[in-house]
Symmetry: C2
Subunit: 84 residues, 2 copies
């Protein structure tokens, strides 16, 4: 079976996010002054060929741990979007 798994990687909450800060500044310069904070992150959609949803989550977790996320600065969340 093939699963579509969504991985989201964000900077840990207490870390400064320069990309978010720049985006906020630009948006406010554009007149969007209702926006008071921006935090940025990465998203990955993985297609995983495996026997079960649990197994797909485990593989995505390993992908985060070994490559996609930096444990020093990142936090991440993983969810199965659908079976495809």
């Amino acid at each position: 079976m093939r699963y579509l798994v969504r991985v989201e990687i964000r900077l840990k909450k207490d870390l400064h996010d320069p990309e978010g800060t720049v985006a906020l500044s630009c948006l406010r310069d554009l007149g969007l002054r209702e926006i008071v904070s921006v935090r940025s992150g990465k998203v990955y959609y993985l297609e995983i060929e495996t026997g079960s949803e649990d197994e797909a989550l485990k593989i995505a977790e390993e992908a985060c741990r070994r490559l996609l996320a930096n444990p020093v600065k990142d936090e991440y969340s993983i969810s199965v979007v659908s079976r495809i």
Copy 2:
């Protein structure tokens, strides 16, 4: 009222995603051969100070259109995460 709005920006489906391709190659080199496809994207969490959820969505839409997304190559989705 303040709303937390999530914006996700992805390359249009028919466009080649070099970052996803590199990630896929690295993950497979690490032995994660169950992963057969990777697509990458960006995520932004906006805090928006406004009167209603609908208004917050409209402001986030304008932020995408005017800064965060590139209409030539990107597609995006917007959702209100919570009132904060």
